[in-house]
Every structure is written in structure tokens, then in C-alpha cells.
């Protein structure tokens, strides 16, 4: 018997437009009547034409996907919205059936497409643990054996016999995740569960998933958080419009993905709401390495150059200070830095050009961040575009010990590095 636990062969999933039905008989007749007269389907949403891999009236959410997963491996799945990631997970979770092809699985598979599925607000915490466990595929005995562990993990011991509708949202999510985390399946399928909860909770989830792979189980992990993908997965699949675009080592695939998704991002700065005198506009942003190569992501602890493109419409600007801010993906501000903090001002600006700021050791931990910009001169705001540009931070050997992804789960948002010794 080989070590393969998941084998996907020629898996395809088509969504048929106009033939699925619209929900009511009268609308179906409407669609059919429009078709009979050769008119376009009136129930198609505007813009859907551009969506996905389309073939006449059929959208291929997945097309001819082939891959295998080995036991004990964590496989990351990335791609833009609508690339087919969720469809793949839905097929693996048996929520929907494929149009053609096969997915073969060894062992019990459990999917976490959402935490708290099937919780009933009127039932107590204890009753919901049993119910939710059974929905996820546990027997009563298994739940009973793990009840104490689950309650401890969720930290809700004193509210165990209170209806969950009286829980705070934090307790609710903790309990839901605790049940799911104690499933002990051979294969765990996780979709963006980490998008809920606070940072501490997300780290806890990541840590738990890391433990799962260490115990020899297999994890399939879909996320937009490149930092989390990097921490957890050794191999990554990149989906694009329903097809498997690239598969390989995490670093390569993530880089490729960022490179291709970066192309759209300059548009934001030119077409967004903005305030300020308008004498100068910030028009582009990218990262460069020290030798002037364009870079798709910043590396924790490594030097990086922020390159901020501008258009200058005035001939008289003096003492210009350029600032940028870095935020979490929830737009919580982490850092604001203007050039005048370092007593640096720009004078005699050309009609268009670039501001550059070299950061010798980029201090943020791997993950997705947002960057905002503001330019002032003599206390007057010249330009403040109300748009954030995504910034991805990845990890290499930050601590210089040749081992780069074991610590990050517990490292927090900002990375420190120091020299340790002890004294008597």
C-alpha cells in the first residue's frame, strides 16, 4: 500500500447557468421563454460573463484537476476568489458531487468549512458539544472521552450548562473550534477558519493544526494568508480559474502567486478617494531589493526598499515629507513612519519620480499586511489616498539558525532578535 492518502483524478465540476433553475417556477418559465426568443438569460447577473472558465452556458469551477497527497503532509491551497479552491474542498467534504472524475480518500476525513456548524442556540454548551461532535462524525463515546479536553481547550467550564445563546461571541467560537479540533480525523480539511477570532485565537488554531501534522495526519489548508500557508505547509497548489496552475514547494508557488496578483494593484492608487491639496499624487508602490530588483514580498529581518511613485503638479513644493503606514489585514494600525521623523525632506521634485525608503531589517512577522500613504509639506496635506496596498511578508532564516518555520506560530506580529546571555 502506498503512502498516498488522497488521490484526485481528472476532477471537474461544472455549474450550468440557466439550467439549474432559479428558485421559482415562474422565473424558470421566464428564462425558458427568453431563451426561446433568442434573448439573453434575464436571470444572469451583470458581470458574470467575465467570471471563471466559461464554456457556453457552463462555468467550470474545477477543470481536470489531478494531484495526490501523502500521509502526514500539510498541503496548502491558494488562488484568487473564484479560482476553485472552495469547490475542491466542498467536493472532498462530500457537500457537493463532482461533474466528472474521482476523488479517492483513505481514512476518515473531516472538514472544517466553518466553525460552529449546527450549533443550536437554545441548547447548553454540553448538549451542543455532543450534537456538533456527532454532526462532524464522532460517536457519543468519542465525545464523552474527550469532553474534558474540549471544555478545557475552550475555557468554558463554568458555563457548560448554559444555553449557548447566552455566550459571548468569543466563547462561542472557542467552543466551536475546540470541538472541531478534537475530532482526530486522519485527514483534516480547513477553509479560512482562521479568518474568525482574534489574533491570539488564530495563532492557537495554527498551532493546533501544526500539531495535527506532527501526529502523522494530513491537512489540506485553504487560505489567503500567505504567512499562515508558509508556516504550515510544505507543498502548495495554486489554482487559477478552476485549473491547477502550479504545484510545488511553498516558497516558489507563493512567490509566483504574488507576482501574478501584483499586476492589478497599481490601479487602486490612481482611482481612489483622496484628500489633500492635490499638488502631488502618490501613484504607485512596489518593493525592491538592494540590487534594484522588483520584489513581490518583503522578507522578515531582511533589507527591503519601499518605492513610492508620484506625479508632481506644482513647481514650488518645498520641505516635502513622505509617510507610509503599515496595518494588519483588519486595518489595525501597526506603524506610521514619515521621512521627517528622520529629519529628511524632499525638495526640488521632478514632475514625476519615486520616493525610496530602505528599511535595513524589516521587522514584521510573516503574514498579510496593508500599506497606506500620506504626503505633507510644511504641515499642509498634499495627498492622502484612501486606499491600502496589500503587502505580503514571508519568512526565511530570520534567527540565522538554519531552520525557518518552527517559531513563527508563537512569534507575534513584530519580530525581535537579540543577544542572550546569563549572569550570576
Amino acid at each position: 500500500m502506498s503512502n498516498t492518502v488522497i488521490s484526485i483524478e481528472n476532477l471537474s465540476k461544472a455549474y450550468r447557468l440557466g439550467q439549474i433553475g432559479t428558485g421559482t417556477l415562474s422565473r424558470d418559465i421566464n428564462v425558458w421563454w427568453a431563451k426561446a426568443r433568442g434573448k439573453p438569460n434575464p436571470m444572469l447577473k451583470i458581470g458574470e460573463k467575465e467570471h471563471g472558465n466559461r464554456d457556453g452556458e457552463t462555468i467550470w469551477a474545477l477543470k481536470d484537476v489531478n494531484f495526490t497527497v501523502e500521509r502526514g503532509k500539510a498541503l496548502g491551497i491558494i488562488g484568487r476568489n473564484g479560482a476553485g479552491k472552495s469547490t475542491l474542498l466542498k467536493i472532498l467534504s462530500r457537500v457537493t458531487a463532482p461533474t466528472s472524475g474521482h476523488a479517492r480518500v483513505k481514512g476518515r476525513i473531516a472538514s472544517l468549512l466553518e466553525v460552529g456548524t449546527g450549533f443550536h442556540p437554545d441548547l447548553t454548551g454540553r448538549e451542543n458539544i455532543y450534537l456538533n461532535g456527532a454532526i462532524l462524525g464522532m460517536t457519543k463515546q468519542e465525545v464523552r472521552r474527550k469532553l474534558d479536553e474540549i471544555v478545557a481547550f475552550a475555557e468554558i467550564a463554568q458555563f457548560l450548562d448554559t444555553p449557548v445563546k447566552r455566550y459571548s461571541s468569543g466563547m462561542y467560537v472557542r467552543l466551536a473550534f475546540a470541538v472541531a479540533a478534537h475530532l482526530d480525523p486522519e485527514i483534516l480539511v480547513v477553509d479560512e477558519v482562521l479568518a474568525v477570532g482574534d489574533a491570539g485565537f488564530q495563532k492557537k488554531c495554527l498551532g493546533k493544526m501544526g500539531d495535527v501534522t506532527k501526529e502523522g495526519r494530513t491537512v489540506l489548508f485553504v487560505s489567503h494568508n500567505m504567512g499562515a500557508i508558509q508556516n504550515l505547509c510544505s507543498r502548495v497548489l495554486l489554482f487559477d480559474r478552476g485549473e491547477l496552475a502550479l504545484t510545488g514547494e511553498t516558497r516558489n508557488v507563493v512567490d509566483h502567486y504574488l507576482k501574478t496578483s501584483y499586476q492589478d494593484q497599481t490601479i487602486d492608487l490612481n482611482n481612489c478617494r483622496r484628500s489633500g491639496s492635490g499638488d502631488l499624487h502618490v501613484t504607485s508602490f512596489h518593493l525592491e531589493s538592494l540590487d534594484g530588483q522588483k520584489q513581490m514580498s518583503a522578507v522578515s529581518g531582511e533589507p527591503v526598499i519601499f518605492v513610492i511613485g508620484y506625479e508632481n503638479y506644482s513647481k514650488t513644493l518645498r520641505k516635502v515629507s513622505v509617510g507610509f503606514s503599515i496595518h494588519t489585514s483588519n486595518e489595525v494600525s501597526l506603524s506610521i513612519y514619515y521621512s521627517h521623523y528622520s529629519n529628511f525632506y524632499f525638495d526640488d521634485l521632478s514632475p514625476h519620480g519615486e520616493f525610496r525608503c530602505m528599511i535595513p531589517e524589516f521587522p514584521f512577522s510573516p503574514g498579510n499586511y496593508l500599506v497606506g500613504f500620506r504626503v505633507i509639506a510644511n504641515g499642509i496635506e498634499l495627498d492622502w489616498p484612501k486606499a491600502f496596498i496589500p503587502l505580503t511578508v514571508v519568512m526565511e532564516d530570520f534567527y540565522g539558525v538554519g531552520n525557518f518555520n518552527n517559531f513563527v506560530v508563537n512569534s507575534g506580529q513584530i519580530l525581535l532578535k537579540g543577544i542572550w546571555n546569563s549572569s550570576k
Binding site: 500500500m1 488521490s7 417556477l25 424558470d28 458531487a97 472524475g101 474521482h102 479517492r104 456527532a134 454532526i135
Partner: protein
């Protein structure tokens, strides 16, 4: 190349626990899977039973109040005001027997017919044998039926003590069969409707209406002997008629009972269950794409 072939052979020899493919055997109910989910079914029953009457003052007493009120209303309107015949039985018992047994079928049907729509969120996130939901509904309703049935027996005793002449007889032994027939019919019709409602929501409203209509085409209120001859074929075509009649005859001793009629109900149930299974299996595979 040599290695490739080897691993290919090895790969083919692997024992896979789960094969997810496009087609399923349409007549396969996968009862084994359902049996393994029995804990889940019982928890669903418990949830439905416990959750429905939380935050009500009278709680499970509602299981008794509902049939009692219906019976009182029927007795008043159809018995006292309209003066409809009841085959010589005490009006109260006549209507109560009809109500109690009809309620089991009606609630099985209406609740099952909501399976896909009301659980869309749950079904869309996690897989478990979908039949667990309708089966748990049958069991929940069976508990309610047991309570109401006992209530009915208590009233029977009361009437006998007060001089009514009733003729309960050996047909009572068929009660479990009647329950099975109703459960099968309710489940079959319910899953057909629920499968179709994933496409056409209109049906949800039709079900409410249809069940009420069907009640008037069943001898719940009017005994067969009093139905107009012109409409008799409707009553005879209705698979619920023999069930209600047999129940009433068995416990109260009036009405008709015939084994061929019951066999007809049984055949009807089998056909409905088969159609239901096929449609259910087809819809189950892809209904998330339409809901």
C-alpha cells in the same frame, strides 16, 4: 519508466475508504451509513424535542393541548353545529381518534418536506448521511404520537366508565403496522417534496395547503359511510383512508376494515418510497449548487 509502472500498480491496489465520483446508485439508501449515524439521529431527536418547548411556560404539555383543542373545535363545529354523522360513536372520541392518527402523518410529511431548505446551511458545510434528518423527524413525531395516543386511551377509558359502548378488538394489534405505513408515506412524500423544493420554492406553500386538503379527503371528520357517492373514489384512492379507518375500527369498533385496502396503502407506500429515494439521491449530490 519501470518505477513509474510499479507505483502505478501499487496505487491501483490501494484500498480506498471513500470514492467520491459523479454518479451514485440511485436506489441505494446507504442504510449502513445511516446506522453508523444513529448517535447523530438520536441527538437530532433530542434537539428537536428539547429545543421546541424551551422558553414556553407549558412546555411538553403542548403535546396534549394541541390534539385536545383540535378535537374540541371539531366536536363543536362539525358535531354540534353542522351535526355531521359519526357512525354512532361519541363525537369527541370519533374526532380525537382521527386527529391523533392524522397528526402523526401530517407532521411527518410537513416537517420532512422542509429537510433541504431548512438545513441548507448545515448541509452546505458538512457531510453526514442526509437521511438522518428526515429519520430523526419520524422518531420525534413518534414520541409525540405515543404521548397523544396514551392521552386518547385515557379519554377512551373515561368514556367507557361513563357508559359509552365501545368495541375495541384484535385489530389493535395492527397499530405498529399502521404507524409504519404512515411513517413510510410521510417520509416518502416528504422527501419527494423536499427534493423538489430545492428547485421550486413554490411547493413549500402548496404542501401546507395540500395536507389540509388531503385531510378532508380522508375520513378524519366525515366517516366513509357518509361521503357522497360521487366523491367516494377520491377517498378510496387515498392511501391514508384505510389507515384511519382501521385505527378507528380497532379501538372504537365502528367503520370499515379490509386487508386488501391496507395492502393498497402498503403498495402505495413502497412506490412513494422508491420514487423518493431516487429523487433524494439525485438531489442530494448537487442540491448545494441550487439552494
Amino acid at each position: 519508466m519501470h518505477i513509474d509502472t510499479d507505483s502505478r500498480i501499487e496505487h491501483l491496489q490501494d484500498r480506498w475508504d471513500l470514492d467520491i465520483g459523479p454518479s451514485r446508485n440511485l436506489l441505494d439508501l446507504r442504510l449502513g451509513e445511516l446506522w453508523r449515524a444513529r448517535d447523530l439521529i438520536l441527538l437530532f431527536v433530542r434537539r428537536d424535542f428539547v429545543a421546541v418547548y424551551k422558553q414556553t411556560i407549558l412546555g411538553p404539555l403542548w403535546y396534549l393541548i394541541q390534539p385536545l383543542l383540535t378535537t374540541i373545535i371539531f366536536t363543536f363545529i362539525f358535531g354540534s353545529v353542522a351535526k355531521l354523522p359519526t357512525d354512532g360513536l361519541p363525537q369527541f372520541l370519533f374526532y380525537m381518534s382521527g386527529t391523533v392518527i392524522w397528526t402523526y402523518f401530517a407532521s411527518c410529511l410537513t416537517m420532512t418536506s422542509d429537510t433541504f431548505i431548512s438545513n441548507a446551511n448545515l448541509f452546505g458545510k458538512v457531510y453526514f448521511p442526509r437521511l438522518a434528518v428526515p429519520v430523526s423527524i419520524l422518531i420525534t413525531n413518534l414520541i409525540a404520537f405515543a404521548i397523544q395516543f396514551a392521552f386518547f386511551l385515557a379519554f377512551m377509558g373515561y368514556f367507557v366508565l361513563h357508559g359509552s359502548v365501545l368495541h375495541p378488538n384484535e385489530w389493535m394489534l395492527l397499530t405498529p403496522v399502521l404507524i409504519l405505513l404512515m411513517a413510510g408515506l410521510g417520509l416518502g412524500l416528504g422527501i419527494i417534496v423536499s427534493s423538489l423544493t430545492t428547485k421550486y420554492r413554490d411547493l413549500r406553500f402548496l404542501v401546507q395547503f395540500g395536507v389540509t386538503l388531503l385531510m378532508y379527503a380522508t375520513p378524519v371528520i366525515l366517516p366513509i359511510s357518509s361521503f357522497p357517492k360521487r366523491f367516494l373514489w377520491i377517498i378510496q384512492a387515498n392511501p391514508m383512508t384505510p389507515i384511519v379507518e382501521t385505527f378507528r375500527y380497532a379501538f372504537l369498533g365502528a367503520g370499515t376494515v379490509s386487508l386488501p385496502d391496507l395492502a393498497y396503502s402498503f403498495g402505495f407506500m413502497l412506490v412513494v418510497l422508491c420514487i423518493g429515494t431516487v429523487i433524494f439521491n439525485r438531489v442530494e449530490a448537487t442540491f448545494m449548487d441550487t439552494v
